[in-house]
Amino acid sequence: MRIELERRGSASPLFSVISPILSLLLTLVFGAILFWLLGKGPLSALYSFFIDPLTEVWSLHELAIKAGPLILIAVGLSVAYRSNNWNIGAEGQFTLGAITGSILPVLVPSWHSPLVLPLMMVMGMLGGALFAAIPALLKTRFNTNEILTSLMLVYIAQLFLDWLVRGPWRDPKGFNFPRSLDFSSDAVLPPLLDSGRAHASIIFALLAAVLIWFMMRYMLKGFEVTVLGRSERAGRFAGFSSRRMVWFSLMLSGALAGLAGISEVSGSIGHLQPSISPGYGFTAIIVAFLGRLNPLGIIASGFVLALTYLGGEAAQLSIGISDKVTRVFQGLILFFVLSCDTLILYRVRIIFGAGKTLAEGKH
């Protein structure tokens, strides 16, 4: 058996839509097999993983809480990836945004003003953007690979946060727990509705997605991103600077990751602690690809991946499987997305036995 690819004349619009759906279906099939291997009824397990969390109001709020940071980060990453700048350190930019955004509530807790929250958000974005500027500087100035540098910075940011909350920022009245003091009510993103915990991060996310979608579709900057990403040479002929694009795309994705970080800390946690993210920065990579690097697609895929987090927690309680299965699911989704994307650009033929190759068949 052999698989042969034949390039399509142009990207297939049909398969651009089918591919993410197909990959989700394949994930479900493999998920069922996985549950079966773990000795659980596949269908009931899938039900409690993917449907149960959608049946109650509080869990819908949790869904929005998890989807917010995922969408925010992924939308920024989509711009970076489209321009061929591989920022995979969003987890670090998320962490640093959370730290810089927390400067006000931690160091000046006595300042009460409606200005506190907006300032925190801005400082979070600045922190994330500046942290992402490091790989940008290294790439433009020293030609280093941004994949490796941005990833190394994740470890550095996490250790820095760890030091802060165990050292200078530790709450003196916190019984020696490694955490900062609780944010005052002026520094906490309030719940949107009375029915649950969901806060403004999901609004930020939807807003960012729509704005970036508009930029990519109707603004020169978006065109610049696409052209430079497809062909740096062509972009240079059009007068676009690939150097400036490195800065722009990395800092934009960093700023959005930073905003996600401070919103998460301010809205969901209420203080700083050593661990503030269940891997949002890495899962957002999957969100970006499942959404086909399209901001509107990312909104949908963000909710899907948020569901895998909730499903993992729910399945742990209801059918007693480990929540580690969540990360298996997330990895599987990305694999299937990437393989199904082949269908968009290529016709795939599966040839059984020692069949002739395409060209020989045509002669």
């Binding site: 100035r141 030609n143 393989s339």
Partner: protein, 304 residues
Amino acid sequence: MLEAILLTIITASTPLVIAAAGELVTERAGVLNLGVEGMMIMGAVCAFGAAHVTGYPVVGLVAGILGGALFSLLFGFLTLTLVANQVATGLALTLLGLGLSGQIGESFVGIPGVKLQPIVFPLLSDIPFVGPLLFRQDLTFYLSIALIIGVHWFLFKSRTGLKIRAIGDSHGSAHALGINVIRTRYLAVMFGGACAGLAGAQLSLVYTPQWVENMSAGRGWIALALVVFASWRPARVLAGGYIFGAVGILQLHAQAFGIGVPSQFLSMLPYAVTIVVLIIISHNRRTTLINTPACLGKPFVPDR
């Protein structure tokens, strides 16, 4: 004291050297597999499991190698057969590997592991200082040295090595010469996977003989940086591996001594050093261009 420190440095450097040697061959064939971290952790969990079940750490080593190689096939299928984006697929491999290993290893947590025992060379190991360092090591250390020599010989002295380098530098020309690009790349990817798996096995059988989730702790990524640092030359992988290993161990000793710097900042050192080293190596654009395999990361669809 010095001997003890050097011993731990050797143990810490060995997995880096092994994984980087494998990735070097993969990249020389023009394939950028960013999934080293994922293959490493899969190797670690397979090795621990097999050693635990059978009681033989050597079986664990073999299981680690097989686990890493099989896992890399997934990457090969996507990037070589389906021509998926190599960067994204490598990330997917890492994310899936970290998740899958956590799931597989769930029942291994807290179980005491089986340690791979050192091989003692008679007489030679009695030489003071040098003996314990070089002739009383476990199998993985000897394998890592053999691997560096073997990879160097294979890439630069053998015919297949020449083919691999040709494919990495110009897959179109290699294809026109009748070399089976896809098949060779599959083998190079699997070699990289096997090495990453072996490196992972070293972690769970020698370095810390137990299973801890995410125990690779970024070593796969450091191995990737090591290949860039070595400018795709095996001997430099050995040197670089020991530099990175030494930084990791010395910062641990510095933490134990308590030199007044918060432990978190010392823990940052290996990652910070990686960045600094990348800057030093990459800043000369021309030498980077000369050394990098020209087709690294580029998709290849054979025209017929």
